[in-house]
């Protein structure tokens, strides 16, 4: 199956199989974690440098910087981005070498930073296969800076900033990879990811008998841009953060950033995937037994379709927030212990 449809399915599988405890927010960063984080960051930087070389020889555009606003990312969030990185690298390898590898199996038990690192290393091996492609290797040789770049020595930021830098580095790699693919991430992929989020939200609403699990969608508005969807999904993320807080659960720190001038469908996809990951986390924290539904390729969709579907998700989360605040059935004390 093409990566366009394999990736969302795979990510869905991964987030479902991640144990609840694995997705908890981390506590104070230990020195061991900091060391792992620093090495991981060096590895990711090399990966990104290799990507930069590829970008130059493939003549692809360099994406503008983008900040989701997430500040204390947890290992499972980095792991999610690492998986996306692997899948996009796998697709790049297929497009050039006609070879595709199986995705790394989900880790048993608690997700650690090392798990994400392993996935990035697997992606790096795939990237080296790409660099070995005769057509690519010839260009790299002519460019004179093919591989073996000197190791990057990162600065010595504080513990939280290590994680933030790492999150942003993996995010940047993802965005650069999307530019190199023939088959970019497109609005249909985002649509599919938002549909998956709707499935999660419907399962959460099933806890409340009076809830309308899948509300009627708002009227369709044509001529929307990926940025419109992006902003609406950011609103969903903010609402989800309030739901976490209302339930007394630890949550990511999110700071609203100025809206970017423009975003690509791939960026919106990453935000939607992050939203799914957070919803899955909430699923497990609340002990929702029913598995979310699989989302299927919906055919060619425009950002306007996704914008409408994101509004549906928005309505679900708004309803969920209202019901949680009204009933207050789950409190910090009631929540299962990590």
């Amino acid at each position: 199956m093409h990566a366009r449809w394999l990736l969302p399915a795979l990510l869905g599988l991964v987030v479902v199989t991640v144990p609840a405890a694995a997705t908890d927010r981390r506590g104070p960063v230990t020195s061991s974690q900091m060391a792992t984080c620093a090495e991981f960051l060096v590895c990711q930087d090399r990966f990104n440098q290799d990507l930069e070389q590829l970008r130059r020889i493939m003549g692809a555009a360099k994406p503008a910087p983008l900040d989701f606003g997430i500040r204390n990312a947890a290992p499972h969030e980095i792991y999610l981005l690492a998986l996306t990185l692997f899948q996009r690298t796998n697709q790049l390898a297929f497009e050039l070498n006609r070879v595709r590898e199986e995705h790394p199996p989900p880790p048993p038990g608690l997700i650690q930073l090392e798990d994400a690192w392993r996935v990035v290393l697997a992606a790096r091996r795939l990237l080296q296969n790409v660099q070995a492609n005769p057509q690519v290797a010839e260009s790299l040789a002519l460019l004179g800076t093919a591989t073996g770049q000197p190791a990057v020595t990162p600065a010595e930021p504080s513990g939280n900033e290590w994680f933030n830098d790492l999150f942003n580095a993996v995010l940047a790699g993802n965005r650069q990879l999307d530019q190199l693919l023939v088959q970019h991430t497109n609005p249909s992929d985002v649509y599919r990811e938002v549909t998956r989020a709707i499935s999660y939200a419907a399962q959460l609403l099933a806890r409340y008998p009076e809830a309308v699990r899948v509300p009627d969608p708002p009227p369709f508005e044509p001529a929307k841009q990926p940025l419109d969807v992006y902003l609406r999904l950011l609103d969903c993320l903010e609402r989800l953060q309030r739901i976490y807080q209302a339930l007394g659960l630890d949550t990511f720190e999110w700071r609203r950033q100025p809206p970017p001038a423009a975003v690509e469908a791939g960026d919106v996809y990453l935000l939607a995937a992050l939203l799914v990951a957070q919803l899955d986390h909430l699923h497990q924290r609340l002990g929702v037994a029913r598995a979310p539904r699989e989302a299927f390729y919906p055919g060619r969709k425009f950002p306007a379709h996704t914008y409408q579907r994101a509004a549906l998700l928005q309505a679900q989360l708004e309803q969920l927030e209202r019901l949680i605040k009204a009933q207050d059935t789950v409190t910090r004390d009631d929540a299962p212990a990590p």
């Binding site: 199956m1 008998p209 009627d216 299927f296």
Partner: protein, 949 residues
């Protein structure tokens, strides 16, 4: 000191007490019965209410849920199978209008289910319905998407690219010929390439079959074909040494793509064999339908519960009804018995003394009662007897007094009757006088109306505030809706502010001076702006009432137009005299200058430089002489050598010259009458005039166009020439020149013939071209008309007098002018923005026996047409102001009245209008200027009355 005698206390009425007790006892029994009845019916009502308010809606709602669930499943099945969007709409409607309201009803009556211990069942139904709706939403969301069939999606999105690549590569491999293609080894290789290609094609076909309804049955054959194709490719690879470099490269690419193909083929087979190869059907069967069945079961059970509850409540209500009925029967019987006993005893006590009283009353009425009745009782009956005795005494006294009063009343009635008869006589006389006065007043009013209707002017009465108090000529047509519509309106509501101020000032002056004020002004009317002369006279009004004036307004537009035309003619005449005088003197001076210059030129022969200066001065003087010739032409003082001239020959002879003058971008067209009369004109001057007109046309058509020359014979009749001072009726030869250029505005038209008037700028024209033409025609005793509209072109008609025929040429006998055919009182709507032309047309038509309505614009014409259904023919100018021309007006008019006849008129020639597309094909047109007889004939032709003779 006197002691007031204490009045004895009246005895307690015993009879009233007994009656009260009797009635109270009956009332208490009735009240008791009522209370028992109410209590019984209340219980019954509560049970009935419960049945109607709770059990029945619950039963209905359960059945609605049942039906709704079945309906939603059917509609969803329709969407999954057929993909018709209508099914989705019905599905949503079913949930919104049936299932959700029914569920809300069930939840409202939740308490009812707790009474029968079925609350849990309701909760279960609610949850199952929520699950069902969500499940259905997912089914409908995925059913028509490509992702619904993963195997097909993989084929279309992934495998097809690989297949295309492989087909291309195999094609390239087969066409790649080695240098020694006749070599048996190479021939064998070619055969093997073809085998591999065929094997791949078969594998592809089998892969497509996998996607079909019987897909899994093809799996063994596909795997076999994949293996065979792979073996053939391996064999080819082993022959690597015999392949050319290009073949090796192509084979390597084929193997790479083949690897991807087998991977996707495996994926497709796996996905096709999976249970959810069609996701929506799988979800529908495995999840949605069981949920729907469960919901159906629960709804059925709830409906059955509700039915049982209803039966129970109905039985209870029926029992309560029987008990209440028997209770009521017993109570009614008891009450009847008690009431009968009590009433009978009191009736006997009361009846006897009342019978005595009744008998005494009858005697009193007969006048036979001579003494009082004895009083034997101390109760109300005793009181009644005493009162009867008092009444008897009073009655006797009253009868005596009544007789005396009757006598007095009869006397007074006689007196009053006499007075009324006298007053009636006076009143009758007054009525006779009043009727005589009213007859006199009506006769006076009739005379006044006759006078007003006989006056052609408009008559108004206005008050000092400028309000139209009375309109004495209400049907005057110059104002939209008739002059009657002005009544009650202020001057400022009817006219523009400055005009209204002016008219109001005239009224004030008339009131202030108490003298008639005469004023002249122009007003906007339905037929365009018109001039009026008004006489405003104050009216004597009683003190304290608003002061008023009478205004008599006369339409003097025609008079003003005549004055204007006279002024224009006088101006042109004066200009001619002035120009002629100056030109004559100047010409003499130039003759002296030229003569002397010629002498000087001869004397300076030895000095070439000085001689050249004199030659230039001579050339300038000659140009000046030429200018004065034109001025003389305008002032009609140039020497003319008039002679019989064939205008057709003259025009044909000038075509080359005109072509050079006009340039290639302007097309010249001629429409020449073959039987044209000779004209009496100076041919040289006429050529010059025609050239001048061509130059003007060229300047008017910078982007190119058409220059049209027409000739024709024409006769100007007396009615036409009456409007011109120096024109005689008779035969004329017409030379018409038209262009399709920028045209002229009305202001330019007024000055077009004046010398030195030009719109071309200082360096481009002298402003003498048209003046010269005008002077030539006038001096030749002809007539010239100029017709032009801004942006539409110009037509100039030269009417030149017909030359007398030579003696040896048989003279054409001019037929006597026929009597123009008269109209049959048909109504014709004349639409013409030029008030003078409109008046002329109206005068002609009136004299021909037609009824006429006139309008100055298309909008006014449409208004008149709508309000006058008797209009038989629309006679309209082609060019009209206000954005709607004659053709558009005719189109709108025909939309209102399809049988309406239309006759167009225009200053342009027919050829011009047809060429410009301003008239529809087959339109009837009469060109301006037209004669009365021509107009009469044309009208009969269009109206269908036929021509006389």
């Amino acid at each position: 000191m006197t002691h007031r005698r204490r009045r004895p206390r009246p005895p307690q009425p015993r009879l009233a007490g007994e009656l009260l007790l009797s009635h109270l006892s009956v009332a208490v029994i009735g009240l008791g019965m009522l209370l028992i009845t109410l209590a019984s019916t209340y219980g019954m009502r509560a049970q009935v209410t419960r049945v109607s308010d709770e059990v029945e809606p619950v039963s209905q709602a359960s059945l609605r849920v049942l039906a709704g669930v079945r309906s939603s499943i059917a509609e969803l099945g329709g969407w999954v199978s057929l993909g018709e969007p209508g099914f989705l709409g019905s599905w949503a409607t079913t949930w919104r209008n049936d299932i959700e309201p029914a569920l809300a009803t069930l939840r409202r009556h939740r308490q009812l289910f707790s009474r029968i211990d079925q609350q849990a069942r309701l909760d279960q139904l609610q949850t199952v319905l929520a699950d069902l709706r969500e499940s259905q939403w997912w089914v409908q969301d995925v059913a028509r998407t490509p992702g619904n069939e993963p195997a097909r999606l993989t084929y279309q999105s992934d495998a097809e690219d690989i297949i295309r690549n492989l087909e291309t590569l195999f094609g390239a491999l087969l066409t790649e010929k080695p240098p020694l293609s006749a070599d048996p080894v190479h021939q064998l290789l070619s055969i093997q390439f073809a085998e591999a290609q065929n094997a791949f094609a078969s594998a592809h076909l089998l892969l497509r079959e996998i996607l079909g309804p019987q897909g899994p049955t093809y799996e063994p054959r596909l795997r076999q074909q994949l293996d065979q194709t792979g073996r053939l490719l391996d064999q080819l690879t082993r022959r690597d040494g015999r392949l050319t470099a290009e073949q090796q490269h192509l084979l390597a690419l084929i193997r790479s793509e083949w690897q991807a193909f087998t991977t996707f083929a495996g994926d497709i087979v796996r996905q096709r064999n999976a249970p959810d190869w069609n996701v929506a059907r799988r979800l529908l069967v495995s999840e949605t339908l069981p949920l729907a069945n469960r919901a159906t079961e629960l709804a059925t059970a709830l409906a059955a519960d509700a039915a049982a509850l209803m039966d129970h409540e109905v039985a209870s209500a029926r029992l309560a009804t029987v008990v209440t009925l028997w209770l009521l029967v017993a109570l009614i019987a008891t009450m009847v018995l008690v009431a009968y006993g009590v009433s009978r005893r009191h009736a006997e006590t009361l009846a006897q003394p009342l019978a005595v009283l009744s008998e005494a009353t009858q005697k009193l009425a007969d006048g036979k009662l001579t003494s009082d009745l004895p009083v034997n009782r101390a109760d109300e009956i005793g009181d009644l007897t005493r009162a009867f005795n008092s009444m008897r005494a009073s009655l006797l006294h009253a009868q005596t007094e009544l007789r005396a009063a009757n006598v007095l009343l009869e006397r007074r009635v006689a007196e009053r009757t006499s007075a009324l008869e006298q007053a009636n006589r006076v009143l009758k006389q007054e009525i006779v006088d009043r009727q005589a006065a009213e007859i006199a007043l009506r006769q006076s009013e009739a005379r006044l109306r006759a006078v007003v209707s006989a006056v052609p002017d408009m008559l108004f009465v206005l008050d000092e505030d400028g309000v139209y108090q009375e309109v004495l000529t209400p049907h005057h047509h110059l104002f939209r809706g008739g002059a009657g519509s002005l009544q009650g309106r202020r001057l400022h509501e009817v006219h523009r502010a400055e005009k209204a101020d002016y008219l109001h000032n005239v009224i004030r002056q008339a009131l202030a001076t108490q003298r008639i004020q005469v004023a002249e002004y122009e007003l906007a009317t339905t037929t365009g702006p018109r001039w009026f002369e008004s006489h405003t006279a104050p009216v004597e009004t009683p003190a304290g009432e608003p002061r008023r004036v009478v205004v008599v307004a006369r339409d003097v537009t025609q008079r003003k137009a005549a004055e204007e035309q006279l002024r224009q003619a006088q101006r042109m005449e004066a200009l001619g005299h002035l120009t002629g005088g100056v030109a004559h003197d100047f010409n003499n001076l130039l003759a002296i200058v030229v003569g002397n210059l010629e002498l000087l030129h001869e004397q300076l022969a030895p000095q070439p430089a000085s001689q050249d200066l004199v030659r230039r001065a001579l050339a300038a003087a000659e140009r000046g002489a030429n200018l004065t010739q034109r001025l003389l032409a305008f002032s009609r003082k140039q020497p003319l050598q008039a002679q019989p001239t064939s205008l057709n020959d003259l025009v044909n002879g000038m075509l080359d010259l005109l072509g050079h003058t006009l340039g290639e971008h302007i097309q010249i067209r001629t429409v020449l009458d073959k039987s044209l009369w000779p004209a009496l004109v100076d041919p040289t001057q006429l050529e010059s005039a025609l050239l001048n007109l061509a130059v003007n046309a060229r300047d008017a058509m910078p982007e190119g166009g058409t220059f049209l020359i027409e000739t024709a014979n024409d006769v100007l009749d007396a009615s036409y020439v009456a409007a011109y001072e120096d024109l005689r009726p008779g035969p004329y030869v017409l030379l018409a020149v038209s262009d399709t250029g920028v045209g002229m505005s009305r202001e330019v038209l007024e000055h077009a013939f004046e010398p030195f008037y030009t719109t071309k700028g200082l360096s481009k024209g002298s402003g003498l071209g048209l003046s010269m033409v005008y002077g030539l025609v006038k001096q030749s005793e002809g007539h010239i008309t100029l017709y032009s509209e801004s942006g539409r072109g110009t037509t100039i008609r030269l009417y030149l007098p017909r030359a007398p025929l030579p003696a040896n040429v048989p003279r054409l006998v001019e037929p006597p002018e026929p009597t123009p055919p008269r109209g049959q009182a048909e109504t014709i709507l004349v639409v013409e923005d030029d008030s003078r032309l409109r008046k002329l047309a109206v005068a002609m038509l009136a004299s021909l026996g037609y009824r006429i309505l006139e309008a100055a614009s298309a909008q006014d014409a449409l208004y008149l047409l709508a309000s006058n259904p008797q209009v038989a023919l629309l006679f309209t100018d082609v060019v009209l102001p206000g954005g709607m021309d004659g053709a558009a007006l005719a189109q709108a008019a025909l939309a209102q009245r399809p049988n309406l006849k239309v006759l167009y008129t225009s200053g342009y020639t027919e050829q011009m209008l047809i060429q410009n597309g301003q008239l529809p094909a087959g339109a009837e047109l009469i060109a301006k200027p037209y004669r009365k007889s021509s107009l009469a004939s044309k009208l009969r032709e269009v109206l269908g009355g036929g021509l006389p003779g």
